[in-house]
Structures are given as structure tokens and as C-alpha cells.
Amino acid sequence: MTWLGDHLGDILGLTVRHIYLAGVPLILGLFIALPLGWLARRYKGLYPVLIIGTGLLYTIPSLALFIMLPFLLGTKILDPINVIIAMTIYTVALLVRTVADGLGSVPEEVNQSATAMGYQRVRRFMSVELPLAVPVISAGLRVAAVSNVSIVSVAALIGVEQLGSLFTDGFDRAFLEPIIVGVISCVALALLFDGAILGLTRLATPWQRAGEGSS
């Protein structure tokens, strides 16, 4: 375990980069998926188009996407922006369906009541539909967060540094310890992301706990 002690600083640096590469796409992806999901819900014909289209994007293996993006965007292959964009694409692909289904889970009576109370479309979306869709969207976001953390590690193969670099370094030197530490750090980070989203969801949906403890 001396290796771990000697490299704590490095591991911390890689962890921070990993959080950045997996976390930023999660936020970007959510903000892109919200309007797309709303469109898919609003215009029924768009739903299958968006679901199939994003589904196709999701099938592209991550290493292939990391390598193709620089050619499509004209960026440098080592630029972390490629990883950010690739992960944003995966996040959007997962979340569009979730957002559409989440908005669909809002009871129609609730929407009609809001309209009857004078809520205009935008305000109704922001203060009635979106908050009520939070539990479903959050479930999708947790899946996206956990898989993002794991997929980002593949970027070590194209030379973008994060926790996955511990895998390739360890393998090149036939040294198990960095790989084990890397896997454990990745899983721990995934759990951290998952827990953070779960906590934010609890804060955003106080009504879900309204019945708790009152029995």
C-alpha cells in the first residue's frame, strides 16, 4: 500500500478531473434534454423520431465517438472538450426519453387545473409540470451520472487524463495496485454522484415526504 500513500496527491488531481469530465456533461445534457423532452411530449409525431435518433447515438461505442468527434468538430484529439461533448451526447440520449416520460407522468387533471387557474404555458411548465416530473427525471439522471463516471475512464486510451489513466498506467507497468485503486475510486465517485442527485431530489420534492412520520 506504499504506492497509494505516495500517490495520494496524483489520485486527488485525477479525481477532480474525472468529476469535471463526468459532471459538466451531466448538467449540459440535462439543459439540452429538457426542451427536447418537452418537444417530444408536445408534438406526438416528434416522440418516436427523437427517441430513435437519440437511441442510435447511444449505440456508438465511446472510444469510437471520442475519436470521431475531433474530425467532425475540428478540435485537437487530446482536447478534453471532445470527451465533454461525447459525454453530453450520451447524457442527452438517455435523458430525452426520461424527460418526455416524466412530463407524461404528470396527471392531466393537474395540468388542466393549472390552466384553469390562469397559468400560461411557460409558467405552467416551470412551476407545475417540471417539479412534478422531477422524480422520474431524477431516476434517469442517476443512471446517466453513474454510467458517465464509468464511460469517462475510457478516455484514458486517447490520452485524456482522469482516473482511467490509473488503469492504463498500471497495465503498462504490469502493476495491479493502481488499477485496483482506480476501479475503487471510480465506483466511489459514481456512488457520490448518485447520492448527490438523490439528495437534491429530496430537497426539490418536499411533498413526497409529506406523509412520512405522521402515521
Binding site: 469510437a64 475510457v154 497495465f171 495491479l176 476501479v183 459514481a190
Partner: protein, 250 residues
């Protein structure tokens, strides 16, 4: 650059031989097919059993989530480095890599099969029992056909995972299309790397499309609603249903 990639892809010499595109494509498909098949043979019966009996439900629900958190690259390199030295020759990387592919394909297929059976309409199950079907008959004639759409989505998700991981497995010496990416990156042969990436993406897309077609063929029309031009009432459409003909008589 696009021209150079196109030139690489259309060069006949790159398609032939033991390390040509055709051979690598067949290798990639072969590894993936075997891994998904083995995983399905383990995961589908297990998922059906858990869905049918309810034993071990906790295990499945958590396994699918936990598996997603495990980085496939780390697992792969760990397995080869750890298990590899115990074997000689090609087996030293083939066996650990194959094992990892199977292990990664199991959770999505297992949770698909489980969720499929779990989600079967209880009325359909009751009706089958009422018709005198025994436990295994209900499973084979009602639960399995009703669970097929989710079993197939599990297989599709597992297959995509396997194709992606088999690409990465070129790092540990596995063949397949990943070779073009990994070797191309190592010698900075950009046209080869980019061509490899395009081929892998095309392979994944085509395999998923084939599986989607298989799914459309084998899933009962009673579930998909793919009937020949029969007008049905869609409760989501928000249109008032046409009045039943009986009302006119009454």
C-alpha cells in the same frame, strides 16, 4: 482529412488478409456473439426464475445499478493482468477478456428478463391459471411471450456493451475492429484510427438495427399492436372514441 479517411477505407488492400477489415469485422462479431450468447444462457433463465418466483429480487435490482458503476476498461485490464499469467499463449488474454465481456453483458439481460416477467399483467397470469395452466405452463405460454420486449431490450443493451468493450479489448491484444483504433493511436496513423472508429460505430448501429428487426418479428402482435389497419381507440390520443354501434340500436 476526410479524403484520406475515405482513401484508407476504400483501399482494397486494407480489406484483405488476416489483419484486414473483413477479418477484423468477423472477429469482432464472433467475440460479441459468443459473449452475448453465453451471457443470455445464464441471465435469461435466471431472470425468468427470479421474475416468476420473486426469489432474489433484491439481488437483480441492485446488481444492474452496481454493474453500471464498474468501469469496463479497469475491469478488463485488471482481469488480464491478474488471470493472464496463470495461462499460456493466446488463452492468457482471450479467457480473461472473454470472461469480462460475459460478466458485463449479464446484468442488462438479467434485469430485462426479470423486469419483463415482473411486469406481466397480473390479470393475464390469473386468466392463465384459471384456464388450468400449471406454473411452468404459465411461464412458457404467458410470462415468456409477454416479457419478450423487455428481454430483447436487455439483450440489445448487453450487446452494445459487449461491442463497445470488445473494441477497448484490443488494448490487451484481442483482435476485432478495435485493433485499427488502438494500433492507429499507437503509431499516430490518423486515417486508420478514424476509419476504425467509423467501422465500429457502423457495426454497433447495424447490429442494433438487426436486433430491433428480430424483436419486431418475434414479439407477439398482441403486445405490439402491429395489426393490419384495424382502427383501435388510443386513450392517449385525446380524441373522443367513436360511439359503439350498440348505442344506435338501443
Amino acid at each position: 482529412m476526410i479524403n484520406r479517411i475515405f482513401a484508407w477505407l476504400t483501399d482494397g488492400a486494407h480489406w484483405q488478409g488476416y489483419d484486414g477489415i473483413a477479418a477484423r469485422l468477423i472477429e469482432h462479431l464472433g467475440y460479441s456473439l459468443i459473449a452475448v450468447l453465453v451471457a443470455a444462457l445464464i441471465a435469461i433463465p435466471l431472470g425468468l426464475y427470479i421474475g416468476h418466483t420473486g426469489h432474489g429480487r433484491f439481488l437483480v435490482v441492485n446488481l444492474a445499478g452496481a454493474a453500471r458503476a464498474i468501469p469496463s476498461l479497469g475491469l478488463l485490464l485488471l482481469a488480464v493482468l491478474w488471470l493472464g499469467p496463470r495461462f499460456n499463449g493466446d488463452i492468457a488474454f482471450l479467457l480473461p477478456a472473454g470472461l469480462v465481456l460475459v460478466v458485463l453483458a449479464i446484468p442488462p439481460i438479467l434485469s430485462g428478463a426479470y423486469a419483463g416477467v415482473e411486469g406481466v399483467d397480473p390479470d393475464a397470469r390469473d386468466a392463465a391459471k384459471g384456464m388450468g395452466m400449471g406454473g411452468s405452463q404459465v411461464l412458457r405460454h404467458v410470462e415468456l411471450p409477454c416479457a419478450l420486449p423487455l428481454i430483447m431490450s436487455g439483450i440489445r443493451a448487453g450487446t452494445m456493451q459487449v461491442i463497445a468493450t470488445a473494441t477497448i479489448a484490443a488494448v490487451v491484444g484481442l483482435g476485432g475492429l478495435g485493433r485499427f483504433l488502438i494500433d492507429g493511436l499507437a503509431v499516430r496513423d490518423t486515417p486508420q484510427t478514424a476509419s476504425g472508429a467509423i467501422l465500429v460505430a457502423l457495426l454497433a448501429l447495424s447490429v442494433d438495427m438487426v436486433l430491433a428487426m428480430v424483436q419486431a418479428l418475434i414479439v407477439s402482435r398482441g403486445l405490439t399492436g402491429r395489426y393490419k389497419r384495424v382502427k383501435t381507440f388510443d386513450p392517449d390520443a385525446g380524441v373522443t372514441p367513436p360511439a359503439p354501434a350498440l348505442q344506435h340500436v338501443a
